[in-house]
């Protein structure tokens, strides 16, 4: 019995060590919150474009990627060479603590300046969009909210949900920009509506689909994906402005292969890479790339979109903790 156990342990641990294996080729890690489908689409393309290096992906939610990198950095060293998540504020933080490698890529010359860090530490590579979503069989077209402000109308009481800004970076950006637009009284009104703020974006979609909460604040890409499966969830682009979540790409200063990393950044702005992103339901920062299928064209969206630039980013960044605390106090407790 004991011997059997012992050999099982030894075998198990040995296979663990073997499983990790070894490789001589230059190895680069991309830590990202991109969807698996998008990565699957990109992987062979990137491999063909940059054959000299072995590029590995670590995928997780924005917050988990940030958590992993932060913990690794706290210990002194991160394995990530490039990071690509949807929380712009985290990049501001990394930049200020000198963890990012500045790179002014020629491939990004068509990206509007408000979507670039002035010091070239990071640049927007995709733009997820926060909008409102509703259950199309439970709400008549004439009852729909038209703006963020409408969500405080009595008829939407107990019908609202959103992701938690503590758990999802995109929800945080939404809260930050909405509080800037409408003030904290808006959230106090939402609290009176019994707004549920929990989980990530797909939890919001699930709550709408099951009719637990038929109205939600959610990413457009989640709505498009649900629709492709035949879901009755539909999008509303609010009149007072959809919320952009400019999601950057950046190179870590600690990378051993800065030249390859720069080539990867360039590649992410190629048409092939940008198309893969758009296929995932996000907008491209490049005007020449078409908008996602079944989504409002970018040109129209831009006309009704909350403003974004590096000044706003810096301003919201400096009050980041305050925004989270304020939100927790009003909504969560």
């Amino acid at each position: 019995m004991k011997f059997k156990l012992f050999s099982a342990v030894v075998l198990g641990l040995a296979s663990l060590v073997l499983a990790t294996g070894c490789n001589n080729k230059k190895e680069l890690w991309i830590y990202t919150s991109l969807y698996k489908e998008v990565i699957a689409e990109m992987e062979p393309l990137l491999k063909a474009a940059i054959p000299e290096a072995e590029i590995k992906w670590f995928q997780g939610g924005s917050e988990n990627v940030a958590g992993k990198v932060n913990a690794e950095l706290a210990g002194g060293k991160t394995k990530a060479d490039l990071i690509l998540t949807s929380d712009p504020f985290w990049y501001q933080e990394l930049k200020q603590s000198g963890k990012l490698l500045a790179y002014d890529s020629a491939a990004t010359k068509d990206v509007p300046s408000e979507l670039k860090d002035p010091d070239h530490a990071f640049v927007t590579v995709r733009i997820p969009l926060m909008v409102m979503a509703y259950h199309s069989e439970s709400l008549q077209p004439d009852q729909l909210p038209k703006s963020w402000k409408d969500l405080t109308l009595p008829r939407f009481n107990k019908k609202l949900s959103m992701g938690s800004p503590l758990e999802s970076g995109t929800s945080f950006t939404a809260v930050a920009l909405l509080s800037r637009l409408l003030g904290w009284d808006y959230f106090k009104d939402l609290r009176k509506q019994d707004l549920v703020a929990a989980g990530g974006n797909s939890s919001v979609i699930t709550r709408i689909e099951t009719r637990e909460k038929i109205l939600g604040v959610v990413l457009l890409e989640n709505i498009l994906k649900a629709q492709a499966k035949g879901s009755p969830v539909k999008a509303i682009y609010p009149e007072d402005g959809s919320i952009p979540v400019p999601s950057p790409i950046a190179i870590m200063k600690s990378t051993q292969n800065p030249e390859v990393a720069k080539k990867i950044v360039d590649w992410f702005f190629s048409e092939a890479a940008q198309r893969a992103i758009v296929k995932g339901g996000m907008y491209s920062p490049l005007d020449k790339i078409e908008s996602p299928v079944n989504a409002k064209p970018w040109a129209e969206v831009k006309r009704q979109m909350l403003p974004w630039n590096s000044k706003i980013l810096a301003e919201l960044f400096s009050s980041r903790d305050q925004i989270k605390t304020q939100f927790s106090e009003i909504i969560a407790h």
């Binding site: 004991k2 990790t20 698996k36 917050e63 210990g75 990530g200 009719r211 980041r320």
Partner: protein, 497 residues
């Protein structure tokens, strides 16, 4: 009332209720299964050990469907909050945590010399009196230990209070730590650290208290001889049988069957919440089955959980021996110490491990293999399960057996292989399952420690829930639940009686 105080009280309240309910259920169910006879007893026995195989967040997911206050099928039978809130959390946690006292007590009943009970019964004692005066005192350490594990389990649980508590703004300490860590910034980190210490203090108190309770009865000289003379004669329940059976089956229905049905329907639904049979689809299942990550996760989870569970049992076997039989104080202290990582929320534990290994990497010692880190985290977290239950089991073996063997000239190795290993087999099996089953689907720590090539079943499920949609997540959850059922039913065949 401050949020922290409220969360502390709620954590303690939930853990206490869960421990009490689990203890009560564990005693009653283990007694019914081990000492009475009723139709379908063997099926009940194996079904009751199944819930433990389930990560409680799976049951939480199922209960959000079943007990949703707006749309759940069972909402009419539930309070206004539905399955959300403290009561729902206690219920879901108990439906898993009762397995701690249940499995401990069943192993205890197996070691218990049933001739003691029979002697009392022949002398005219009623079954209740036999249980109260004979079985319970002898099984005391197993019960206390099982309840203590249930308490710690509830205290450190994160998934269930997150799924069922946060939507109604009810925080417990673990979710509060999580939200403080997520608040970010230095202040959040320090606050989170403080709450972690508070959580550890509560856990340490619980451990100390359980240690005190166990030693209390040890002084009374209760121990179990290993000589199991004959198979126990079982009590016929007679008139009570239908009542007992229906209550037992209702429990199984609520904790196993209904969640399983809920997940099945969710897995078949083309979109969340549309449960009409005409639209059912296998799309979600085939999507999961064809996922490359799923294949990878299957291998990783199997290797990790089997080797760590074996390691933990082996460790418990050795430490229990050193602590109880060799009276080594360091061994018993080490066993107490394992209670700390067990009671620590996985999130905090994982953070510390990442931190330590990054520091090592900076010093030139690179051991940053996610699978290795997970193995270490799992071992730390579950060492208490093996060590505590085997230590308890050692204390229940009467020293006379060992002395007899020693007098006959047996050395330590011989003693281990001829006395303890056979007598402890049942406890070792129980402890192995107690470690293996939750590890196979571990989520909280894995999600932070995972890296490329080291997906586990838990992380894939989490990915699906976060990035895909509820039906795909439900499809994987359904597979795991079904697998657990199969394992539960298979272990039943191996039972001798």
């Amino acid at each position: 009332m401050s949020v922290l105080l409220e969360a502390t009280l709620r954590s303690v309240q939930i853990s206490l209720i869960t421990a009490m309910v689990s203890g009560l259920l564990g005693v009653v169910l283990a007694w019914l299964v081990s000492r009475t006879e009723f139709t379908s007893r063997k099926t009940v026995a194996s079904l009751l050990s199944v819930p433990y195989a389930l990560p409680p967040y799976l049951l939480g997911m199922a209960w959000v469907v079943l007990g949703n206050p707006t749309v759940g099928i069972l909402r009419a039978f539930l309070p206004s909050n539905g399955a959300y809130g403290t009561l729902g959390i206690c219920f879901v946690l108990s439906s898993v945590a009762f397995a701690f006292p249940y499995l401990e007590l069943r192993a205890g009943f197996d070691r218990l010399d049933s001739s003691l009970e029979e002697a009392a019964r022949i002398s005219g004692a009623s079954p209740v009196k036999v249980f109260r005066d004979i079985s319970l005192p002898l099984l005391w350490p197993a019960l206390v230990n099982g309840m203590c594990l249930a308490f710690l389990y509830a205290l450190a649980s994160f998934g269930v209070p997150a799924i069922l508590g946060l939507p109604v703004r009810q925080f417990v300490l673990t979710t509060l730590i999580y939200s403080q860590l997520k608040l970010g910034g230095q202040a959040g980190l320090i606050e989170g650290f403080k709450i972690s210490l508070l959580l550890l203090t509560i856990a340490a108190c619980a451990l100390g208290f359980s240690h005190y309770l166990t030693s209390l009865k040890n002084r009374l000289g209760a121990s179990i001889s290993g000589a199991r003379s004959s198979r126990p004669s079982r009590i016929q329940l007679g008139r009570l049988a239908p009542l007992v059976m229906s209550v037992t089956w209702l429990w199984i229905l609520l904790t196993l069957v209904l969640p399983w049905i809920a997940l099945t329907l969710s897995a078949l639904a083309p979109i969340a919440g549309s449960y009409s049979p005409s639209t059912f689809t296998l799309r979600n299942l085939s999507y999961v089955l064809n996922l490359a990550d799923f294949h990878e996760a299957l291998v990783n989870s199997a290797v990790l959980s089997v080797s760590v569970a074996s390691l933990v049992v082996l460790l418990g076997f050795c430490l229990g021996f050193l602590s109880v039989r060799k009276k080594k104080p360091w061994a018993s202290r080490l066993i107490r110490f394992f209670g700390i990582p067990f009671a620590t929320p996985g999130t905090v534990l994982a953070f510390f491990i990442i931190f330590i290994f990054s520091t090592l990497a900076r010093l030139g010692f690179n051991a940053d293999y996610p699978l290795l880190l997970m193995a270490i985290a799992y071992t730390l977290k579950y060492a208490a399960v093996g060590a505590n239950s085997l230590e308890t089991a050692y204390t229940q073996i009467h020293p006379s057996l060992e002395e007899a063997a020693r007098i006959s000239g047996a050395r330590t190795v011989k003693l281990l292989s001829t006395i303890w290993a056979p007598l402890l087999k049942q406890s070792m099996k129980a402890a192995w399952l107690l470690a293996f089953l939750p590890l196979a689907t571990e989520l909280t720590m894995s999600v932070l420690l995972t890296g490329p090539g080291s997906a586990t079943l838990g992380t894939v499920l989490f990915q699906l829930q976060e990035y895909a949609d509820q039906p795909s997540a439900a499809a994987l959850a359904w597979m795991l639940l079904t697998l657990a059922l199969v394992i539960g039913l298979m272990t039943r065949k191996k039972e001798i009686y």
